[in-house]
Symmetry: C2
Subunit: 283 residues, 2 copies
């Protein structure tokens, strides 16, 4: 049996009781370690589970899935995923491969950022499609996210923006020389995301949003240390929300008074919050 086990968002105690039972009984336990991260490391998990955990990087999951699934017709394999197991396409691939091999599969759901973002006080039924923001480089600034935001904005919906993480990346030079030397991990901040959004608006000039559009920056959601900051994109571009992981929500104009009441406690600046709200939001 292949078990896809969601770990939730913050630390080792965010696993469900059901998930923990699976981990304790499984013959092998893998931890998917490239689409997201917990705020605790592998050693902490191993000590909590009382057993070893095998780190599964992108290469292993995408190219050697049969290694992960080896013997799963008789053995119990637990594949641990930060958040919910079906948050990333790559896990659907693994589940499909298991189906081809006639390996039974069970998934154990958990919180993902897509629903936990409700802790901002923004109502989940007011969100449109979720988008991802990748790190821009000098020569690569993909703006397809802008078209998706435009679709949400036209309907008046909020947009959750998931921020890029780079783990186990090689520099072009090391890759060219075949050296397995990896760069330090990088996690996009709310400030970087807001800057890239404004850069793209300046480029595309379709007025989808502007410097004074309201957004909420969210950091370390689900942890005791979680932080939320509501401000204009310009304000968030200058913000510092501390260690990863960060996410951002761009507010839609269909926002509700109850949402306003809840999020104003997170405002960078009560005055500019009130002004931006009056300008952009109504029911």
């Amino acid at each position: 049996m292949l078990y896809l086990v969601g770990l939730g968002l913050a630390d080792e105690t965010d696993i469900t009781v059901k998930g923990l039972e699976v981990v304790k009984k499984a013959d092998r336990v893998y931890l998917e370690a490239y689409t997201s991260i917990l705020l605790v490391d592998k050693e902490k998990l191993e000590s909590f589970y009382g057993r070893d955990v095998i780190l599964a990087d992108r290469e292993m999951v995408e190219s050697s899935s049969d290694e992960i699934l080896a013997g799963a017709d008789k053995l119990n394999i637990a594949f641990l995923v930060v958040g919910d197991p079906f948050g990333a396409t790559t896990h659907t691939d693994l589940a499909l491969r298991a189906r081809e091999l006639s390996i039974p599969m069970q998934s154990i759901p958990n919180a993902s950022i897509l629903n936990a973002v409700g802790a901002t006080g923004l109502q989940l039924y007011n969100f449109g499609q979720t988008i991802s923001m990748v790190f821009f480089t000098e020569t690569w600034k993909p703006s397809s996210f802008y078209d998706r935001i435009k679709e949400n904005v036209q309907i008046g919906l909020h947009t959750l923006v998931l921020l890029d993480i780079k783990v186990k990346e090689q520099s072009l030079e090391n890759m060219a020389r075949g050296r397995k030397i990896f760069e330090p991990p990088r996690y996009m901040t709310v400030a970087q995301c807001a800057s890239q959004m404004l850069e793209t608006e300046e480029e595309r000039k379709e007025g989808v949003y502007s410097e004074d559009s309201l957004a909420i920056g969210v950091a370390r959601l689900g942890s005791a240390d979680q932080q939320m900051l509501c401000g204009t994109l310009k304000e968030l571009a200058d913000s510092d929300l501390g260690p990863p992981l960060h996410s951002l929500v761009l507010l839609g104009k269909r926002a509700h008074e109850l949402e306003k009441d809840y999020i104003k406690a997170f405002a960078v600046n009560g005055e500019s919050f009130g002004q931006s709200w009056s300008k952009h939001h109504h029911q």
Copy 2:
């Protein structure tokens, strides 16, 4: 301290380890019992937690929230919510009230149907806004959901439809006479939802969807007994997915080949699935 604790979707073991610790230590434990239900009853939860749980119905949460919060400046109050704590507006109200009373609050996320629906194999970033479907009566058939679906369909996105539940409802007669007699609980089925959707299309005639639009019915998600059925709305209107809870996803045309590969295993009829897919969906 007020703790809002998500219980997840199916049974008593879907609580997180962190949530269970809170429940065990709290001075009072409430179970919100009207926006959704687990597939196990209160007694099962009490035996698992080793303590009593107070059922909180709509009246208590909406009119007597101060009773729930009484003493929470010194005591630990756990308020248990099926799914994720911020899945329903009413819990944002409770959190706001706690803030007014200067009661500190912590929420403990869990899976909700909004992310667990990824277990269908449909990609979560291809979903638009989520809608709710209420039970139609002879004289009340609200169709505002149709406008929301239209917005999603125009962009090509999937729509998750959450289905009405009626617990502790009084008949008009009993209400008029002030008799606290409650009707048996009712849970909308996938078949009822598909029928109401088709009835509304017939009424509104804007061609937002049709009898041969593809959808997925989902039942008892997250339980060992979970079931998924992919068919046209006409096929789903005649389906029987067994006991509650049910949900439905209307497929958007932006659907991806990987999604097709995954969901075809749930098809009522492989042939009509292939035909409907070719007609309505492309990347």
